[in-house]
Amino acid sequence: MNRLRLALAAVLAASPVSALLAQSQAPQPGPRAWLQCRACHTAKTGEANKVGPNLGKLFGAKAGTLRANYTYSPALKASGIVWNDKTLDAWLANPALTVPGTRMAYPGLANPAERKALIAWLRKETR
């Protein structure tokens, strides 16, 4: 017990406060591919928008309509896309080709298996 407390004190003394703060934020879950999305998006319903919109309640929604407090590009709003496994697969493979004029700056996820795993995770996470 004492040893643990000492070790803890040593760690506290050695690490800058901000480092501790950063580490106390539990790493976000998700497949590795989500590491490329999470600077721009949150997935759980009710979380804040970032540069990209929050993706809560994504499945079954019309593209560019989910969040009233987010400014989507005219291109995405006019795309007529309804989000499901198939439309998401095309979008994530190449957003610019799927919706020319989109503001999502993402080159695309080339690996179909990674897309599949990401979409499956999104389906659960964005419920």
Binding site: P16, A22, R32, K50, V51
Partner: protein, 496 residues
Amino acid sequence: MMKSSRHDDATTSALTRRTLVKAGLAAALMPGLAKAATTRKAPASPSAPADVLVLGAGLSGLNAGLLLEEQGFRVTVLEGRSRVGGRVYSLTDIPGQPDAGGAVIAPGYARLLDRAGQFGVPLRPLASPVDKNGPMAIHVSGQTIPAAQWAGSPLNPFPQGPLRAVPPYAVGMAALRTSPPVLQSVGDWREPAFADRDISIADYLTAKGWTPEQLRLAFAVNPGYGNSATDLSVLMMWHLQENMRIMAADGSPVVQAVGGNARIPQAMAAALKTEVRFNQQVVGVRSDAAGVEAVTAEGQVHRARWLLCTLPASTARLVRFDPALPLLQQTAIDEITYNRTFQVFFEVAEPFWETDGLPASMWTDTSAGRLMPLGALAGGPALLLAYVNGFAADLLSRMPPEQAVARVQESITRIRPAAAGKLRVLHHVNWQDDPFAGGAYTCWRPGQIRAGFASAFDAPVGRIVFAGEHTARLARGMEGAMESGERAALQLMELI
């Protein structure tokens, strides 16, 4: 008097040139040097050797380091300077901490904004101060012309038509804007389909009837990119236009970190589990079957299983890679060019623009470059920044720093006698001669995109992965650096 940057920062001193020569020399002597260094034990380190050595503690290296550590990899970051941030550099000795490096954070800078948010770095709008004397005035061929009178000026080389009314600082971009835009997706610039458009701006616009006079004014005076219409790719400028559309996002104002943008890389570095190792100027990188070694100018050897090089191409070309890099990649590293930037920060004792009635900001074809007032942002005493680019910065680089700074100041007082005795030099920064920068940001020469430099930059070689602003696929500048660090970290996660 004048305070010049310390030698670990941007500077133009003779010392800097010597350091560069020394680095080159060390690289030339590498085989011997490396051998001598490896027979010595690597510096005793209490922890196990790292999985990944990251060269450079700029935004790209720090973002990659954070992502890799989060995934459980042991990371050691080696930095040549005695500070983090690289080309993000806030002058903390000046009230308001103006940024001498990456200054403007656009609303679409997703990764940079996300890190600022994660680490609680506050941001504020970077609003241009409203000048009651009008927008940026023009000073060319010895005459000062208010922006509103430019269209009627005999010095305006453009024929009657839409471009004549555009001030020279905006006419280049205006001329390259097409409807519909040539590039309609931010990744298009690297697509082979556009390779044949990778020609010089001069070739592109000459075919449209532009004169050398027009080209010079629009692209060779205070160039934001390149030095002239002949050494800049029109495809790169179209990429920039498409990039700006994306980065403008919903049109929110551009921002800056309170206390200077360097707060962001500082917070990122503080969040690393392993401290950044400073004053480690890397001159050699050697790979073998089991790992990679980075050798410093002082002969220290750092070893890890993998290495991430985030050095700008302008300094990576001073590093000797063993075995040699593939020819196209080395060519790209050797030949890509960087924007030249020389800045002088002045304290303004009295707002002389109230005396001469001219706008504080001015675009000149002199050694003063562009004059930008920073005071309203700083909230302290008024500051004036002389921001010099292109060959005009070359001219200053070739002088002893005191003389260069005096030349800038003389140019200002010649244009605006009311400024005489009102300016005190606080700081100058010369990015071009900075041994750890070698310029401000990448500018693609005609043909370099077509030659495949872009994909050569970010291709892993054995145990070495590359990042840095010059390797970015979609974004540019600070966000490009962040994007490249993320991409490289993911490449490493796949490789390891």
